[in-house]
Symmetry: C2
């Protein structure tokens, strides 16, 4: 219990009161020269490293519904999906910035729960919240996060450095989050496991860093818009084609069971979003090292296909064994 | 005219089409290792400098109305208000990140105008757009900008290093932007000059850098929430009081004329926001250097008061000559 629990509304706390509350809870790492509370933060970037930066907007009714999630989980997820972008470069996260547009119907307790979740996720990643912006919003909750990390320039993993003949791997299981969302949209109740996968994604930071530092992966992306869409970015930027074996795509038992009963939902595995697993390419000779890494991190790392020349396009061996030429497509944010 | 002008809707262009359009227009500086189009940008930070970062959210109906501004100006302003935070630290801007939540009624031409304005402001500041996020929004246009810059750690100007006895200065003229907004809210037409001051603020980058590099200023902030509120941050963080002479506050002729006819609007000068002028403290002996700097930059730099011990609080000599104790207060973003 803090001294300020008697304040229950945002109007009473005010913008600067709210910033003070968040500042009191935030830890600051050694690299922070000037943290929350000035025009800018000031931070150090280690010599020999490049600065990694990413940002994501999360808008109520577009990216989440408040009735489906608790505010603590929403706070964690808002940080996690940004940390996932640092993981996808093989980087280490350092500093996060949080902008929130708060509708009047949100209580101070809800904002506190949100910040607690955000800060717990940031702490767990060994990073610091260093600044941001708070304002009111007319009706929707708006969350804007920027994350900064670093990586050695020679180890950084982009999307454009995959090579023909290399194998494609994914971490974890795919489709759980998209399936949870599909069930929620249909008014059904996803299992606790599926809900957890949707509302509390895990940024694969340790995996990303190990793949970069050990020089195993040659390109990497996090799967946020769906496997085919995100694979499409690697193929386009590396000027390659690929062959994917759908039978090899790793599924959780909950998702496998659901697809057994509802085979029409199969597309969620290939085109659903928000897995926040890592998709990476590596030479086939690295399979043993990748197995060992998966064991050490207690995280399945599964080979799902092979990179081909660009003119071979993207082919998929479907579950029925038929080969199909597919388009790399995922979620178009501007179609309803 | 580009090849893609036949596309008129965002749904046709798609998220990645839109990102491609923006990427084609964006210039990349030498410090950019990896720009738009990967999970993160990767950038260099010069040795011996600290990284400055700030972010701002601009939400339709809260920060702007589309019927009052053209999209080009809105783009410029979205960049400018962020660049102003770098100016306030005495820094040089390098990299910007743009997140947009786009409502369905926005045309691709409007988005293009917005990006053009944003990029023109970024170019003028010698910086690069390096990444961001685009998604749809249910009804309101949402703009989220992050800016990164750098400054020598020994020259950086924060809010907490002002000293008792020093003089307080402001750049430009105050109240023009708040007056324009007040008139718009009343359904009146502000003059072109006032509109320009509201819709097209100028980040005082050259001034901020000169004050930092010449070691003239001891603390600095940009006036975004109103003079008294932003002065309040310096006073609180430097543990000081101040004495402000309202007669000395620099006004444009448009604002002076308006206040002559409508003296009730006087509060806009002290409490109105969005001036984006710099408020800084400096030893009194620096007056000549400050005059010379103002002449060189063709920008009025005006002494408006003196820093006192904290226990003396904040006093204002009003236009009628009466001294009044005031609270440092500005815009509370959570009150309507």
């Amino acid at each position: 219990m803090t001294k300020t629990t008697s304040l229950t509304s945002l109007a009473q706390a005010g913008e600067f009161g709210l910033i003070e509350r968040i500042k009191r809870q935030a830890q600051q790492g050694d690299s922070v020269v000037l943290g929350i509370g000035d025009d800018c933060s000031a931070t150090h970037v280690a010599e020999g490293k490049v600065l990694l930066t990413s940002k994501d907007l999360l808008i109520e009714e577009v990216h989440f519904r408040r009735c489906w999630t608790d505010m603590y989980s929403l706070g964690r997820k808002s940080a996690a999906v940004n940390l996932s972008d640092i993981a996808a470069m093989g980087g280490t996260p350092h500093h996060l910035y949080l902008g929130v547009g708060l509708p009047a119907d949100l209580s101070l307790a809800e904002v506190d729960n949100f910040s607690r979740g955000f800060l717990d996720e940031v702490d767990q990643a060994g990073a610091s919240l260093c600044g941001g912006d708070t304002c009111r919003s007319s009706d929707k909750l708006i969350i804007s996060v920027t994350v900064q990390g670093s990586v050695s320039a020679t180890q950084m993993l982009s999307r454009k450095t995959a090579q023909e003949g290399e194998a494609l791997f994914v971490s974890g299981t795919l489709g759980d989050s998209a399936l949870a969302l599909a069930l929620l949209l249909r008014g059904e109740n996803p299992s606790d496991f599926l809900c957890q996968r949707h509302h509390r994604p895990t940024p694969r930071l340790a995996l990303g860093q190990a793949l970069a530092q050990q020089g195993i992966a040659t390109s990497m992306i996090d799967i946020s818009d769906g496997l085919l869409s995100d694979l499409g970015h690697i193929l386009k930027q590396s000027a390659l084609g690929a062959h994917i074996d759908q039978q090899q795509i790793p599924l959780s038992s909950d998702t496998r069971q659901h697809l057994h009963d509802h085979p029409a939902d199969e597309d969620l595995i290939l085109q659903g979003g928000e897995d926040y697993e890592l998709l990476f390419s590596a030479p086939s000779c690295c399979s043993d090292a990748i197995d060992a890494l998966g064991h050490r991190l207690n995280l399945p790392l599964t080979r799902i296909g092979t990179l081909l020349a660009a003119e071979q396009g993207l082919t998929l061996v479907q579950l029925n064994g038929q080969e199909q030429r597919v388009e790399a497509r995922g979620f178009n944010h501007f179609r309803s």
